[in-house]
Each structure stands twice: as C-alpha cells, then as structure tokens.
C-alpha cells in the first residue's frame, strides 16, 4: 500500500500515526492508572471503574453548564475546575463504596468483581434516571479545540496535547505519591503485609479507604478528560472496562511502570494495526495478541521475580 505515496507523504504518515498512537497511549494510561492503584495495590477488581469515570464526565458537563450560564467570562478555564471537582466527586463516591462494600470483601477478590459489577449497573441506572438516557455534549473552551500545523499535512491536535500533558502530570503526581511520600510507603506496607503494617501503627483501614478513593478520583479526572474525545452517556463507561483491565493485567498488576509500558505497547500496536487493517480487525488482533502474550507470560510484562 505504500507504493501510492511519496516519501514525504510516508514520513507524514508515520509522524501522524505516531502522534495518534501517543494520544491513544495517554488515554490508556489515564484509564488504567486508577485501576492499577486499586487492582495492583489492593487486589480489588473494580468493575465499576468505567462508571466512576463517567461520573467525572458528568461533573465536567455540569461545570461547563454552570460556567456558560453564570460565569461566561471565565469559560476558558472552567475545565481545570471541572477536573478538580471530578476528582473530588469520584473520589468521595469511591471512599463511600470502600466503606460500605469493598472493605468487607478484601479476602474474596472474585467477589469484589461481582459486587462492583452490581454497583456499575446501579450507577448506570442512576445516571439514566438523573441525567436522562441521552448522551450529553460537553462544550469545550475554544482554545482547546483545533490543531497546530507542523507541516502542510501534519497537524497536532490541541486536545491531544492537553490529554498527554495531563497524563504526564497525573502519572508523575501518582509516582511521587506512591514512591516518595510517607503515605505511599504506608500503602505499600499495607499491600505487602497487612498484619505487620497494622502492628506498626499504620491505620490500615484508613489507608485502604484513601487508596480506593484516590484510584476512583483519578478515574474521575480521566472521565473529565475524555469528554474532549468521547461520549458521555449512562453506559459510556462500559466501553472502557475491558481495555482498561487488559492494560493493567498486561503490565503486571503491581507495577506502575508496567502499566505505562503496557499502555504504550497496546496503544502502538492498535494504532499501527488500525492503519493497515479495518478498525474491527485491528481491535480483534490487538486483543488476541494481548491474550496470547498473557498466556505465555501470565505474570505480565513487568513483575519482580520473588522468592517464596
């Protein structure tokens, strides 16, 4: 298929595809970070992850409506406020969920899967009853739309750049939190030895609650960011769940670096395949590839070999 294009065009293709892949990569990382914390650090399978994301998206929608109606002059910056609100809303719901439901189930990981699936059904119906069954369109400030021309053909999307920047910022923040702060040490201590962590005076219940809240809060931010590129409706969250889990599992559940590497691998594979094949087949091949690699290397890409 390359014979139809000139060399210049080919280099443009690769640049644009590379950029498309990077956007997809950022999207995957954003989706997976929250889950990687919850699943990787706590062992909880949160099937309602997508619904936490959509909560963030709805919060963004309402913030935009509020600014449109009451503070139109500040509309240009509403998105930042919306993201903070989305984080708080999803995080708060996450902590409530942990308190009411998850904390009773730490010894039964498969049961968390069923319970959170139930939660996701309930949340979907809540969204439908409260916000209506139709998708809502989130209006963006004009500076976030459009693209910057690089060459005649190559252009980079501003919202793509924004998502990438956000992804980097959140990833760095999470990494610092998990690996540098004392709170992060507590989380990792609880993960490694709950009893011992409790014995040395760490309030494990509190750590659990805040960890879960943090994961859900990040999901909320991700949902907020996705209003730029995707749809916001009661069932939109379900679109993400399989991809998200595969990214986390493929990366090796407990490693943040693994999650990022796996998001990178899967996104590049998918966006490259999409260019050469039709969208459906690209998706199928990517999924099959991930499953086959997981069969060969069930522990995921990055996992520290430990002695038992």
């Amino acid at each position: 298929m390359f014979s139809d294009y000139s060399l210049a065009e080919l280099s443009s293709i690769f640049m644009m595809q590379g950029f498309a892949g990077l956007i997809l990569f950022s999207v995957f990382v954003l989706m997976a970070l929250g889950l990687a914390i919850i699943f990787g650090q706590m062992g909880v399978i949160n099937m309602a992850h997508g619904e936490f994301m959509i909560l963030g998206a709805y919060v963004t929608y309402f913030t935009s409506q509020f600014f449109l109606n009451y503070l139109p002059s500040l509309f240009g910056i509403y998105f930042f406020i919306a993201m903070i609100l989305a984080f708080l809303a999803s995080g708060a719901l996450g902590m409530a969920t942990e308190w009411l439901m998850i904390r009773h189930l730490y010894k039964r990981p498969l049961d968390t899967l069923l319970a959170t699936w139930g939660l996701s059904l309930i949340l979907q119906q809540v969204y439908r009853s409260v916000f209506g069954p139709r998708e809502v369109g989130v209006e963006l400030p004009s500076w976030m739309m459009g693209s910057l021309p690089v060459t005649d053909v190559v252009e980079v999307q501003i919202n793509g750049l924004f998502v990438m920047g956000l992804t980097i910022a959140i990833t760095v923040a999470v990494a610092l939190l998990m690996y540098k702060s004392s709170w992060g040490k507590q989380v990792r201590a609880v993960v490694q030895n709950r009893v011992m962590a409790g014995a040395v005076g760490i309030n494990t219940e509190k750590v659990d609650r805040y960890t879960f809240g943090l994961g859900c809060g990040i999901a909320g931010v991700a949902g907020s960011a996705f209003t730029m590129i995707g749809s916001t409706g009661p069932t939109s969250g379900q679109l993400y769940i399989v991809d998200t889990f595969l990214v986390v599992v493929f990366g090796g559940a407990q490693s943040l670096l693994g999650t990022i590497a796996s998001a990178f691998t899967i996104s590049q594979a998918q966006s490259t395949l999409e260019f050469f094949l039709s969208g459906s087949m690209a998706k199928v091949l990517t999924l099959i590839g991930v499953v086959v690699i997981l069969m060969l290397r069930p522990q995921g890409l990055f996992v520290i070999k430990v002695r038992r």
Partner: protein, 387 residues
C-alpha cells in the same frame, strides 16, 4: 463439600437427600409447572432453563473448583450457533430462498454477496454432526483455552479477565464476519427440524420437556462428578492447590476437565435455547450476558447444583416480572442482587435453605447436611499466578 460420613447411606453416587431434591425438582418442572402455567409462561420457563445449564456448569467450575469464567456466554453461543446453523440450512432450502441471487444458502449470506456455502457450514447439514458439534466444538475451544492458561498456571482474577477479553473478541468477530455468522442480527427465522415445525405451541411444549429431561440428566452428571474423587479433588485444589500438586496430581488437567465440562454444559443450554426460542445472536456471547450468568449461580448458592437451577429460575422470573411492571427499576434490582448475594447471603438460596428451612424439615431432607455449603471465606486468596 457436603462431607458425608464415609459410611452414610448412598445409592450409587447419590445421597438420599440429593435424590429427594432432584425428584422434587423433576416433579416441579415436569408436572407442577406444566399444569399450572399457560403455554406462554411455560415457554419462558423453558428459555430460563437453558440458562440453568450454564449456571450448572458454573457451579462446578466456579463454586467447586474456584475457576471464575466470565466467558461462559461464548460457550452458550457456540452451542447455540451450531444448532442454529443446522436449522438455518434446513430453513434455506432452494424453494424457500428462490428469490435470492444464490438460492439454497442462508439469506444473510446472499445479502453479503456470498455465492456458495462456506466450507465450515457444510457439515451442519447433518443433524448427527450438529449434535456432536454442539458439545464438541465448545469443549475443544475450552480445551485450547484451558490448556494454554492452566498449564501456565493462570488462575483466579487473571483467568476471569482473560475469559472476559475472549468474550469481547468473540462478539466483535461474530458481528464483523456477518457474511458467515449473520452479524449482529444473529441467525434468525429458524423454522423446522427435519420437517417438524418448531414454532408451534405443541412443538415448544415437547421441546420444553426435552429440555427438562436433558437438564435432569446434566444434574445427575454434575452430582456424579461432585461425588466422585474428582469432585473432592476440585475442592481440595481450590483451597490448597499446592498440596494437591505435591500429592502427585497434575492440577491443570483437572482444571481443564472441569472447564471443558462447564463449557459443554453451557453449549447444551445454548443449543436448547436456539431450538426453543428460534434464533441465536451475538447478544448472548458478550461480557454482559456472561457476567449475568454468574449471578444465577451466585443467587442459587455457588456450591449448590440444584441451587444453580433455582437461582436461574428466580433471577429470570424476577427480571421478566420486574421489567413488566417497573422497567426503570430492574437494573437497580439486578445491581442490588449482585451486591446482596456477595455481602449478605454469600451462600445464596442454598445457604438460606440450609440455615432456615432444612433444620425444621427434619432428617428426611438431610437436616443440616443437605445442600450444605461451607462459608466462602475459604475462597482461594492464593496468588493468581504461581511462579
């Protein structure tokens, strides 16, 4: 799991209370329901019972062996599609399809410019082959997956997520390859089985009894497996996999077996579904129906074989009647059920029965032993991936 004293009375492989339980279920399904329900409602029950096959398989696979598959819909679908292919070919006789560009092939193929029957459809002209394929194709598929995953010691959460991905892959494939599969519409408009019109009320009643018969047979099979040494090994593996391995057992082969068995049971259900409902579509294959099927088993009590059947009936009956009266509330109900069955009554109906009803019924029903289930706190927390 119900741990009979080694000397307790059992005939062949069934304990007395099991036999009574099966007999009650058989009477309920074969006599009570057909006499009390009109044709219309009875056909609903027939449809629900096809899901009970899946739930039965999950009780063995998940309840006993601790392998949670979120892809049982794939097997239900494979079985259903095998049967649907046979029926579709019979419905696509040359004279029925003479308006098509290529008469004699299924209508959706004609719409997709396929001019000859694909090779893998060809054997489904034979009913014998179809019957075999209904069980064998899903079992083979499960064998491949099971072999690849269990030999690599993938289990627990990881297995659940991978099977979920498989369900997603399968759905996209079926929808995308519509020339060969009927796409999102599925294979519809199935009419006759060897000239016997399966759409009539009398045919549906007969199919209902066939379905019940098969279900009872599968229940007996499940009881046999459960009461055999293999059944005890499954429980042993679930709780102490390493101990079983270091007692000289090839653990993976047992997991593969039970996974294949569950897949075949699901497939039988799928085939009966196609026969009774008259079509098969990818909407049974995906993630959502697959997880919903898990809830049937969970509601029945994940360790109870008969509970799986009752759980299926109760959830589906609730779904139908609930959504007739309060369509908006059904998802709340279903979601709440998922949470309740995990948090409040983890042993499901069987657990409730055992705690509240059985003790009052006295020894005839096996007192505390019947459909007993240990608290699920002992569910494996072992690392999913063993190195």
């Amino acid at each position: 799991m119900t741990t009979p004293a080694p000397t307790s009375g059992r005939t062949f492989f069934l304990r007395r209370q099991d036999m009574i339980g099966i007999a009650i279920l058989a009477v309920l399904l074969m006599v009570v329901l057909p006499l009390t329900l009109d044709n219309f409602r009875l056909q609903f029950v027939g449809k629900y019972l096809t899901y009970a096959f899946v739930a039965l398989g999950l009780a063995l696979c998940w309840g006993y062996a601790g392998i949670l598959s979120l892809g049982q819909g794939v097997f239900f679908g494979l079985g259903g599609y095998c049967m649907a292919m046979f029926l579709k070919l019979e419905a696509s006789s040359v004279e029925n399809t003479k308006i098509q560009t290529t008469p004699g092939i299924p209508d959706f193929m004609d719409w997709n410019q396929i001019t000859a029957l694909p090779w893998f459809w060809e054997p489904f002209r034979s009913f014998g082959f179809t019957t075999l394929a209904v069980v064998a194709v899903p079992a083979l598929f499960a064998l491949i997956i099971g072999f690849a995953l269990f030999k690599r010691r993938v289990g627990g959460v990881y297995f659940a997520i991978i099977t979920q991905a498989l369900a997603a892959i399968m759905t996209i494939l079926i929808i995308g390859q519509q020339g060969y599969t009927g796409g999102i519409n599925g294979i519809t408009d199935l009419r006759t089985l060897h000239g016997w019109d399966i759409r009539t009320d009398s045919a549906k009643t007969i199919l209902y009894f066939v379905c019940v018969g098969l279900l009872i047979a599968c229940i007996l099979l499940a009881y046999y497996v459960k009461s055999s040494k293999l059944g005890r090994l499954l429980v042993a593996m679930r709780d102490k996999e390493d101990r079983v391995r270091f007692s000289g057992y090839d653990v993976s082969s047992f997991k593969i077996f039970v996974f294949c068995l569950a897949a075949s049971l699901s497939a039988i259900g799928g085939a009966m579904f196609t026969l009774q409902v008259g079509f098969m579509s990818p909407s049974f294959v995906g993630i959502v129906p697959s997880i919903e099927m898990v809830i049937y088993t969970a509601v029945g009590g994940r360790l109870s074989i008969l509970g799986a059947v009752y759980g299926t009936l109760v959830v589906n009956w609730a779904k139908t009647s609930f959504s007739e009266s309060f369509p908006e509330l059904w998802l709340f109900g279903l979601g709440g059920l998922f949470i309740a069955v995990v948090l409040i009554f983890p042993n499901g109906l069987a657990g409730l029965w055992q705690t509240y009803v059985a003790p009052r019924l006295g020894p005839l029903f096996g007192g505390q032993a019947r459909r007993a289930a240990p608290p699920p706190a002992s569910e494996p927390v072992a690392p999913a991936v063993a190195e």
